[in-house]
């Protein structure tokens, strides 16, 4: 028994845990074999990093494998940051639309906002938003 065998056994357990999230059958077997093959020959730190990467992206892998009919729009879907998704914080930049009007664009999530650039009258904006739909 070589000194690498316990590490290899542990790595095999991690790969098994990651691939357990995948649909049972040929898909799970395929990824298990592919990951074990890629682990082969990696050094201690490299294999740890590889396994950590697999673990951290295991839910994303499961989602990707479960939806094999995804089209190209899925490929280009943005990974929306948590702060943007929750509306707590956007990274706004100011741009001009084709009509030359300024608007704000979040460079992290791609959201656009026309909010009366430069105005800080929140009450006025709220009242305007409430009145506009009835017009």
């Amino acid at each position: 028994m070589t000194e690498h065998e316990p590490n290899r056994a542990r790595a095999g357990l991690v790969v098994r845990a990651v691939t357990r999230m995948l649909p049972a059958g040929p898909i799970r077997d395929r990824y298990r074999q592919a990951f074990l093959a890629e682990l082969h020959g990696l050094g201690g730190i490299s294999s740890m990093l590889f396994l950590f990467g697999l673990l951290s992206r295991s839910f994303a892998l499961r989602a990707a494998v479960r939806n094999p009919s995804a089209d190209s729009s899925t490929i280009s879907a943005p990974a929306k940051p948590l702060l943007c998704r929750t509306g707590l914080h956007h990274r706004w930049r100011t741009y001009l639309n084709p009509d030359g009007e300024p608007y704000r664009h979040c460079v992290r999530c791609g959201a656009d906002r026309y909010d009366g650039m430069g105005q800080t009258n929140v009450a006025g904006n709220v009242a305007g938003n409430m009145v506009m739909p009835g017009w």
């Binding site: 590889f50 990707a64 190209s72 899925t74 990974a79």
Partner: protein, 110 residues
Amino acid sequence: MVAGVRRMTIPTQLVLRALLADPARAMYGAEIGQAAGLPSGTVHPMLARLEGAGWLESRWEDIDPRAEGRPARRYYRLSADGVRSARDALASSYQSRRRLRVTQAKVTPS
């Protein structure tokens, strides 16, 4: 033109660039991660999505594991459609970023 490419994530662009560097050459997952400058092990969800969309094709390495002393790897490369789509997507993404930069430069600070 691929819909929504303007929002393609940077890691996906890096993976596509790595594969487009030599579209005829097949690479395994960790190798793609290295070429893309991404942590190895994190590229597999991207590869799965690209393969699901038909941009990638994969196959097992044709070796005798006993003779080589290691298991066969899973190799990926861009399909013919994938090469076209990836080039279009990256070009659109570049154009979009360039357009945004030019427009941003025109905005005068308030």
